[in-house]
């Protein structure tokens, strides 16, 4: 095989392509070809892996032609994002920016404008890489994933989805069709912070999402969730740090301690010292920022 000096080939390997027009049809193709098939949505990760010959699936099932899968819906149950909603449409959606600001920020951080016009949040989730920016916000928002197969559907919490680097609970015959996100509780604020490699695509070295809820008096942390990516084989919640904060008065000293605990909960696969240091720094800043972001507080005052 000809290898280029770039370390990858410019052309894609051969595959059989089909473009089903319904979810049912896509699922029956999946159950027929199983691990020999890959779902193609945005393609910005999959086609790169194929050009690098990391994978060479025999069948590609293009789902872009399935109508009605690119929705972003908001109602009293929360937010529903269809499998084909692009990162750009999510990042620029008024309701996402207003009520799920940390998710909009993370989607806007990924890739480049061109990538965001193509890539989907569902694809970001299915890729299940350690450094996918879309994941930490979904972890702290306690999103659920709707997985559909020819046998029916199941809805699983996102923290049960990741099984290891690029490994997930998605079965060979399943399609992720929808991401469901409950509306954040009242008196809560969130944010997403990150540090990146300095490259063309700025892959994330540490990503931190925080969602924090205040008590009615605006003093105690009633609840908090901290989601991290790129600091462990899979995206994680820093549950010990959350536990430390819960029910306690939000002060600088406590926030520092919590950040230290969170850094201790990481298990980076490379550049461990740097990633731990940055986790410490970013969790501290993210906690402060999320606390400041608490909106619609009855008295309308600044909390910190």
């Amino acid at each position: 095989m000809v290898t280029s000096t770039l370390g990858y080939l410019l052309t894609l390997p051969r595959f059989n392509y089909s473009a089903p027009s319904t979810v049912e049809e896509a699922c029956s193709l999946l159950s027929k070809h199983k691990s020999e098939a890959k779902i193609l949505a945005g393609g910005t990760d999959l086609l790169v892996s194929m050009k690098k010959r990391k994978i060479s699936p025999r069948y590609l099932i293009g789902i872009k032609a399935i109508p009605g899968l690119d929705y972003i819906q908001f109602d009293q149950d929360g937010l529903k994002i269809g499998a084909l909603a692009t990162l750009r449409s999510i990042a620029s959606s008024p309701v996402v920016k207003d009520k799920f600001g940390l998710l909009a920020a993370a989607c806007r951080k990924i890739g480049t404008p061109q990538v965001r016009n193509m890539a989907t949040l569902a694809g970001n989730v299915c890729q299940a890489g350690p450094s996918q920016d879309g994941i930490p916000p979904l972890l702290v928002l306690e999103a659920r994933l709707k997985l559909v197969s020819t046998r029916g559907q199941r809805i699983i919490p996102i923290d049960q989805f990741f099984k290891g680097p690029f490994q997930s609970a998605l079965e060979d015959n399943e399609l992720l069709t929808e991401i469901q996100i409950p509306t954040p509780p009242v008196r809560s604020g969130g944010c997403y912070r990150w540090a990146t490699k300095i490259t063309a695509i700025d892959e994330t070295l540490v990503g931190v999402a925080v969602l924090i809820k205040s008590d009615p008096a605006g003093k105690l942390c009633e609840d908090v969730r901290i989601g991290l990516c790129s600091v462990a084989p899979s995206p994680i919640r820093a549950r010990q740090a959350e536990e430390l904060l819960r029910g306690r008065r939000v002060k600088d000293e406590l926030v520092k301690q919590a950040a230290q605990v969170a850094a201790g909960e990481t298990s980076p696969r490379s550049r461990a010292d740097y990633r731990r240091c940055m986790t410490l720094l970013l969790v501290e800043r993210a906690l402060h920022e999320a606390w400041r972001n608490i909106k619609n507080f009855p008295s309308g005052r600044q909390l910190l």
């Binding site: 770039l6 990858y8 410019l10 052309t11 894609l12 390997p13 051969r14 595959f15 059989n16 392509y17 473009a19 193609l40 393609g43 910005t44 086609l47 790169v48 050009k51 690098k52 590609l60 293009g62 872009k64 032609a65 750009r88 890739g111 480049t112 404008p113 061109q114 990538v115 016009n117 193509m118 490259t199 063309a200 695509i201």
Partner: protein
């Protein structure tokens, strides 16, 4: 197995039989001979293969040609109208915003998409819009100036 596809590029309709593994970039350059769209890294980092798909900048190196059917594809060859350069093209020349020229087609299309959507962008919005187009000559300053001048000109013309 080859598939028969139909593409609309710069307003013209083309039919061809291609292998599904051909990207839109492969088809534009190697079948249609539209070599204005450049092949740089081919893995979505550099933005030199940028084309507009229904008005939005996308990477033609990571888009299967079969999936570009039914869309309006605009390449750099379709930017000038009736032999008249697009105002952005003229501004790039006037500002010396072209050095080696390799990033220019993608840069111009990203700029066009921005101005079509947001006729009076801030400098930061311009920088954001071209953040997916790498200029290895590092001539960003003049590129940003050229785009801002066109935006300003459009505003004054109104």
């Amino acid at each position: 197995m080859k598939q028969l596809i139909k593409l609309t590029v710069n307003g013209e309709s083309y039919e061809m039989a291609i292998e599904p593994r051909m990207t839109l970039l492969d088809v534009l350059r190697d079948i249609l001979g539209l070599t204005g769209t450049k092949s740089g890294c081919s893995i979505g980092n550099c933005g030199s293969c940028t084309v507009l798909l229904d008005g939005k900048p996308v990477l033609s190196c990571l888009l299967l040609a079969v999936e570009a059917q039914g869309k309006d594809i605009l390449t750099i060859e379709g930017l000038a109208q009736n032999g008249q350069l697009h105002p952005l093209q003229q501004a790039f020349i006037d500002h010396g915003a072209i050095q080696c020229g390799f990033c220019t087609p993608g840069m111009l299309l990203s700029a066009k998409a921005l101005l079509d959507e947001n006729p009076s962008p801030s400098e930061d919005e311009v920088k954001e819009a071209i953040s997916g187009n790498l200029c290895r000559c590092t001539g960003y300053t003049n590129i940003v100036k050229a785009i801002l001048e066109v935006a300003q000109g459009q505003k004054e013309a109104e």
